[in-house]
Symmetry: C2
Subunit: 352 residues, 2 copies
Amino acid sequence: MPPRPPLTEPRHHRRVTLADVARAAAVSSATASRALADDARISLTTRGRVRAAADGLGYVPNAAARSLRARATRTLGLLLAELDDPVHAQVAAGFEQEAGARGYTVLIITGMTEPAHERRALKVFVEHQTDGIALVSTILAPAEVMSFARPDRVVFVQADHPSLAGYRLDPPTGSIRAGEVEGIEEAVRYLVASGYRQFAYLGTGATATNLTRRAAVERAMRAAGVRRPLRRFAVGARGWRSGDAIAQRIARSRPEVLICYDDKLALAVMDGLRAQGVDVPGDVAIIGFDGIPFAALSNPRLSTIASPSLEMGRRAAQMLVASIESGSLPSSIVLPVQLLIRDSSPPRRVAA
Amino acid sequence: MPPRPPLTEPRHHRRVTLADVARAAAVSSATASRALADDARISLTTRGRVRAAADGLGYVPNAAARSLRARATRTLGLLLAELDDPVHAQVAAGFEQEAGARGYTVLIITGMTEPAHERRALKVFVEHQTDGIALVSTILAPAEVMSFARPDRVVFVQADHPSLAGYRLDPPTGSIRAGEVEGIEEAVRYLVASGYRQFAYLGTGATATNLTRRAAVERAMRAAGVRRPLRRFAVGARGWRSGDAIAQRIARSRPEVLICYDDKLALAVMDGLRAQGVDVPGDVAIIGFDGIPFAALSNPRLSTIASPSLEMGRRAAQMLVASIESGSLPSSIVLPVQLLIRDSSPPRRVAA
DNA sequence: TTGTAGGCGTTATCAA
DNA sequence: TTGATAACGCCTACAA
């Protein structure tokens, strides 16, 4: 009896390599490599034969081998706080679109706003030799980030290290921000002109973005001649998920207008206020930040200072690719925000 | 005059390699490799010396080289339609969390629900030799997907190829779905018991998920003894962004209850209906799908059939890792959904 | 306990 | 126009 083959077929066929293609096309692997790269030195006949062999065998180049040799990975790292957050999702979408369109693949890691996570993420990027890294709302000190990677291959989007708060200079390298301060000035001017005097700000933690926004509100108030101080509220550890608790505090205080750190928070507070029987905008007007899609669908529709999140993601990828391919990182940019006055903050009926 | 060094420093120091570490520690690179891997055969002294050298030089292993040698990348591919979509973002978040916790890095690509994009994405995954691939709401035929990658290294989450619609079998490999049909049955039972008879369904395109949901509604209606047919509405190309146009059609038709393909759509329609002066739930009750966070914050709060999106993402990563490490892909699963009755679909005041 | 050598799959240099 | 060869950085079988 002839020996029978094992019952379980060797399912995992060895991956077809360039050498296999070369053999099938009866050329050397060097020729095969060049043929597939459409190198002009290879005759058209040979190129065709090699390509046919490659297609026939289902050849797919091995990125690891190629990267090893090329010292470049055509891969970009994206570090952001949370993927399931409307703003970050938008930035990520823009980044991925742009990167993909330019032939780069994206490695995404979430940092949960924790330094340890962020550091680990950077290390992973370095291991994987990403050609560039974008950091979104990340809290690590820029200087530390730079110690991990080539400074001209790093872009910060809304860098959130506390030291960056206020009006100080941005990190020494590529940075992308929204012109939120201008947006706030415009919003406060609008509010004051509309009859609002008693302002409150609902913030979250010690990130640069939060601190900057709050400070800008205060500055803008003074600039607009408002004397009464800004009432400050802060959310607890559960963030916007604790809308009710926050709403109770707001309900007690009853500012004329509440500016919220972001739309998520604003929407949660609106819901909480509703439960308290507080009318928006009748009793308290509300303004958010970011311009997430659902802010346009709430009831009442939420006024907001909208940042171009998708565009910021796109730009981050563009800057990185520019740096990689042209050798120099484009200079930092501030993208304009847009004040969207909707139903949560109408002009006040001062008289009547 | 001594020759001065060039003005522009060679900024790009060659990356430090294992050989560098070995040299610094005065051992062979083999020993260095083993020392860093905490190989018991290397003396503690040497291990310490090597580690010190590695730390001193800032050594970071090169993933490409390692992958090439190991024939594994510790990388997972995630293909989804859009990153800026509450459901996909949630799935992505769960996937990334779980993958990261298990030491895997995630390559994310968006497929825009277009076969060409999806194919390209798969090719990229193959090039990068991802150890596993998860496909979320993807429309490519499962068979075609399998031709790209090892079937036991692929997981489908809510596979959306039209052939998968209805109650047919799932793809032959790992699949993760929400038990939406059961959820729909429960919802319809609730609605009928609450006095609703005139149903409408607002859907979107020919994906398996949409077709399955619509069919399930019809089946459940019949099972509940409803005779009147289901009125069908479909959104146009702009999807949920055209809430107003859809709302006009709904306003004209005035079904007693409108079940929407997903929460996004439901929220958009609610906004459009409001503009039309149609009261929800007074004139039309509304139920959505997915259970996205903002569904809980709308006014009125949206009733919905909630899928465990985050968990589905987690499970996808778990299944892949299990397959990679234990050699066999766990069997397909259906995760239970949860019917959340909120304010957009209260029991009807039938009498009075 | 440590070292030597070879190969993972590509591409680039040099030679033919 | 094509081919042989080396090297990218790592790991491990084998030798010492």
